[in-house]
Symmetry: C2
Subunit: 196 residues, 2 copies
Amino acid sequence: MARPNRKEQIFQTALALMREKGYRNTSMRDIAAAMNMEAPSLYNHISSKEDLLWQTCTRIAADFEKGLAEVNDIYFGASEKLGMAIRSHIEVLTRDLDASYVFVHEWRHLQGELREALIVRRDKYEAAFREILALGEAEGSFVEADNKFALLTILSSLNWVVEWYRPDGDMSPSQIANQLTEFILNGLNKHHNYVR
Amino acid sequence: MARPNRKEQIFQTALALMREKGYRNTSMRDIAAAMNMEAPSLYNHISSKEDLLWQTCTRIAADFEKGLAEVNDIYFGASEKLGMAIRSHIEVLTRDLDASYVFVHEWRHLQGELREALIVRRDKYEAAFREILALGEAEGSFVEADNKFALLTILSSLNWVVEWYRPDGDMSPSQIANQLTEFILNGLNKHHNYVR
DNA sequence: CCTACCGATCGGTAGG
DNA sequence: CCTACCGATCGGTAGG
């Protein structure tokens, strides 16, 4: 009766509900009902509701960090690095959409140290991303802009993908990454497509 | 003792708390405490917690709609329209940051008809915005891209402003609108700045 | 604007 | 994995 990955099933069930209704609107009884269990039984597999959120956030954060570190190891030009960083980010977001959606929207519900730890990691990730923009300026390939502003604008476009991406839709994660990269590098104006 | 705008004070207090802690994490008792009242007294001025959210969302939505309608009445070129639509959007978002933040983040907590009514209005707004992109394509001034993709990417950049805008920061709403427009039209590549 | 209070729901524990 | 249950908290009402 005891499946080896019962814990994993609880996570997937909980994340699907939390994506749909939000963290606070998803009760342990909701999760239990979706699993055909009683709420107290969940605690044989997980330690708390907040732990469901924390484990999810820390896993996604680790995926982001790993992806960006690899990009920085392998590529050297700013345009190339930026394109691959975008690709990595989109790959992480689309790999497990329930988890990504919950990460993007619900991390604020973490309390105290957990929340602060996540903020520190986010800031580090953003700083690494921002260095790519600084590199592009130093190279002379990117416009000299307000780096922080550009970074926030770029990351918002990337993270918004969790709102509308559908695995069975007409754009693959790879195509999304390509289009985002093209848009971020060249914008809407018609003059120069695919300069790279 | 009865100030004429007591209701307005409750809204401002509630929105500041909801921005900080989220809709579900803000109790009527929290709002009352911040107003130096008891929770039941709030109901002499407002009808329900959900009504606080609804009034806020519908007000912001109306501001968006009004702004975009004016832009469409006054301007004719796609680049010009887009620039002014961005300016209008940023002006609405930055006018009352607590309300805008709550609108962007918490509208999902509206139930049933209210929620659906808001989705309809959002879809209309997005469609009107999207027509500007279609106009730019027809004019030959914008690249031929996936309109829906471009729209979502643009709106995500605009809405993300509620995350980082600070009234006492170093960028005014007008400067933010200019930079966003520049970025959206021309991207990061160095070749052509300020083509317009 | 307050006191007193309601029914519902919450995350989680005890004990088996 | 369940039953039984706890203390806390919630939005809101009654009645003044």
